[in-house]
Amino acid sequence: MHEDTINVGFAGNPNCGKTTLFNAYTGANLKVANWPGVTVEKKEGEARYKGQKLKLTDLPGLYSLTSYSIEEKVTRRCIMEDDIDVIINVVDASALERNLYLTLQLLELGKPVILALNMMDIVEERGMEIDLHRLPELLGGIPVVPVSARKRTGLDVLMHAVVHHYEEKHSPRVVEYSEDLEGRIARLEQVLKEQEPEIINARWHAIKLLVQDEEQVEEHPVDLPEVLDRSYEQEFTNQKYAYIEEIIEETLFYKDKKMAFTDKVDGVLTHPVWGMPIFFVVMALVFFLTFAVGDFLKGFFELGLDAFSGAVQGLLERVAVAGWLTSLVVDGIVAGVGGILTFLPNIFILFLALAFLEDSGYMARVAYVMDGLMGRLGLSGKAFLPMVLGFGCTVPAIMATRALEKERDRRRTILVTPFMSCSARLPVYVLFAGMFFGKFKILAALSMYVTGLCVAVLVAYIAHRLDRKESENVLLIELPEYKTPNGRTIAIYVWGKVKDYLTKAGTTIFVASIIIWFLLHFGSSGMVEDVSESFGAMVGRVLEPVLRPAGLGMWQIAVALISGISAKEVVVSSFCVLFGISNVNSPQGMTALTEQLAAYGFGALNAYCLMLFCLLYVPCAATIGVIRRETRSLAFTLKLILFQLLVAWGAAVLVYQVGRLLL
């Protein structure tokens, strides 16, 4: 029994099931989906197997150890440095040929490798067979364990292999290269061992020198110009693939050929003409469901909230709590937080639909379908994936831009992603469209999504034209097999989002509601009866003139918009607290608010401008944080904030002024 913890790293190609396997061992609920690049950050967890402690690290997927994109660099660094004792190379058995290239590279590293043959169920479904005796032989005798991460089979066997093999420090030599290459490797190994007697895997270092790996050349320079006359990367790659073809020939058998289901579906979904319209119909359907079904469900929530609010007020009055405290709890917290909770059904439906899209395999196709349009904006179709994710939440969407290779493309994508309408703006649309647009409310809300997309596209286009640099369309993305979305995967995904929403309601929105309540009930003379004498009103009045041309010239709106920077839902909670509406999402609540707003001359056009402004203005605090972190540039982040403010104000002014002329 070992006292020490074994550090286990999950490495493998993108979308081969590493995270599903990691979740199965650690009980974690990390997001998984069926498109390459879901995991962009390494995640750690703990597990135990027969008393042995294991530290598991889930790494972003990579096709080879040569690093190109950020996620590849993260993984490579983590594996190469001594953080990992044993590598579990997760392999998609249904795409063995492509996956084995990384396997051969990992074997050369010299760390113990265990092959986890994932997706064996799919192999069977497709009428394929893998020779499980011959495969380990051809891979130098490393353990090969068939598993199904989804069905949770083979998990114990795999951990057993880890515990028993982690001490084998040297992986066997698997690929024998050509005489010329082996000669060069031998010469370099000799010199390296002389130069640095403590060097562990001289063969690997020699190969890295021969492919002119930058880090290697810098850290372990060898002066042998006749051996290192050029890069031999191509030779190494070709010979590895030649060996892989041998392996495939000897171990993979097709019992019967089946017309791949994926090809049939792709015939429709990636159709040259219909591909794009289908995508827009799919997205329209997603949002229609979000509003229509969400609307239907929310009634139950309102009843619950009404009862709760009444009960709290009754209780507080019965125990004779001070009036101001009752007001804080009922008008501040219950109105602000509770008001937001009634939008949960909409949020739930939205993420359920997005989870289906992501887990079915359609997401990657969107990159292909949108590549033509994105090409005109100087971006590849791959940049559209973060934008689609932005419909859910901007924070993970910004993180997803890591999959883009070029920093310039990344920044441009980060610039436009906040314009995609995220789920936090949804309560604003549901409320204001519901109050002012009657039977056209869904249409009004949908128009926000279209507007957001159009603004994003337009901004990307202008940025591209201003850039003037020759852009190259280097789309290169794997299109996974379609599959029936997995119930567990969807549940993890949706529950994660619902939990985020509830947490936000309990933290950010809770605190914001209390602060707003204080700002509105206290003024320079202490607690005030009339909100127009409060601190909030004073701040709001400063901004009122700026917002007036946009049809938003009310100090209350200014207060709501400022507080909305903490989280966009807070715009709605602010209105609840500002106008003392306890259940804003109910018909009575809406009527009460509409009447109060009407007194200020606030009508449908103003409501539309408010929705538009909320769509486009400063991203929420969490997004600002992640943009700052991902771009490592405060200047860029500040410019982006200013830019979005200008866009929002400009768009709202335009719509309001034109609207006033027409209506």
Binding site: Y241, G375, L475
Partner: protein, 88 residues
């Protein structure tokens, strides 16, 4: 001819790839190298293609597609992946 001029659902073999070094390296790592068999699955008007190589589908932009030179695969060079089992 390049993948851009290929016929849909036709099987080809990669002859050579002329493209910037960093993209070439990437394609190599994915096993898209001279001698590799490739099937053209789909193509858009702007030249973005879906190809199937070694049993995996890839969407590639017009620039990459235009850099991959191919020739029709002969009878004896059936596309690997789907037909690999014929060795059995």
């Amino acid at each position: 001819m390049t993948v851009l001029e290929g016929t849909l659902q036709e099987k080809y073999m990669v002859q050579k790839i002329t493209i910037q070094e960093h993209i070439l390296r990437r394609l190599e790592a994915l096993g898209i190298i001279p001698g590799t068999k490739l099937m053209l699955m789909n193509r858009k008007k702007n030249g973005t293609c879906i190809i199937k190589v070694r049993g995996t589908r890839w969407a590639i932009g017009p620039m990459i597609a235009g850099g991959i030179f191919v020739e029709k695969a002969g009878e004896e060079t059936a596309v690997e992946g789907q037909e690999a089992g014929e060795h059995a």
